[in-house]
């Protein structure tokens, strides 16, 4: 079960499994972001390339406006996937 919620006006929390079936739900929140935002992965168990695609598209859009996503609590499986995709090169990971 995937969930996404705004924890604050500048922080988004993800939980559960972020796969291709969850892209629409995730984009309904990420597409609304207009400023630098922290994404909290503490409760996220799993991510696929579909989830990476949403993050990357949001980062590109925010960068064009002078903002960015900052990723926190990236551990375990999520950290390993980010390492394979070299997301450390295109995101600030706290």
């Amino acid at each position: 079960m995937f969930d996404i919620r705004m924890k604050d006006h500048d922080e988004v929390a993800l939980s559960g499994r972020f796969d291709a079936a969850q892209v629409e739900k995730a984009r309904s929140v990420f597409d609304q972001l207009t400023t630098t935002t922290v994404v909290d992965f503490k409760e996220l168990d799993y991510i696929s390339s579909a989830g990476l695609g949403v993050l990357m598209a949001t980062q590109k859009r925010l960068k064009d406006a002078g903002h960015k996503l900052r990723l926190k609590n990236v551990t375990g499986h999520i950290r390993d996937v980010f390492n394979i995709a070299r997301f450390d090169l295109i995101f600030d990971i706290e």
Partner: protein, 137 residues
């Protein structure tokens, strides 16, 4: 264990349940779970996306052999697409130059130990081998 799944991204939850069931029944170390999820999820998702009008279900078979897990996905009545020959994305590129395309197969290649592709009778047959007993993504 073998099962057919409807060609729909909403089938992914059932695919994950099937994998959980297999791992539990075989008594396999739970740490392999996300790597198996990822390898199968990426290929299944590609099969759904690239042949959306195909009415055939997608077959998934899981088997434990000694110290490895053998995963087989079969997609029927499709055009060939040899994933072992797909070009890797440039993951060193800047954000402006990067696109999400190609990351799925690249992730799969990185979390399994062997990939074989076979095309016969208009079937794409992908066989993945995942060794047990090492660190898993």
């Amino acid at each position: 264990m073998e099962k057919k799944f409807k060609r729909d991204l909403r089938s992914l939850e059932k695919v994950f349940d099937f994998i959980d069931n297999f791992i539990a029944k075989q008594g396999i170390d739970h740490s392999i779970k996300n790597a198996v999820y990822l390898a199968i999820d990426e290929l299944f998702t590609n099969m759904v996306r690239y042949h959306p009008k195909n009415r055939n279900d997608i077959s998934l078979a899981l088997k434990k052999e000694k110290n490895k897990v053998i995963i087989r996905l079969i997609d029927r009545d499709v055009e060939p697409f040899d994933i072992t020959k797909s070009k890797d994305p440039n993951i060193q590129a800047s954000l402006d130059e990067r696109s999400p395309g190609g990351l799925g197969i690249y992730l799969t290649k990185n979390v399994v130990d062997n990939i074989q592709y076979e095309y016969r009778d208009r079937m794409s047959i992908i066989t993945l081998t995942k060794n047990l007993g090492r660190k898993h993504v």
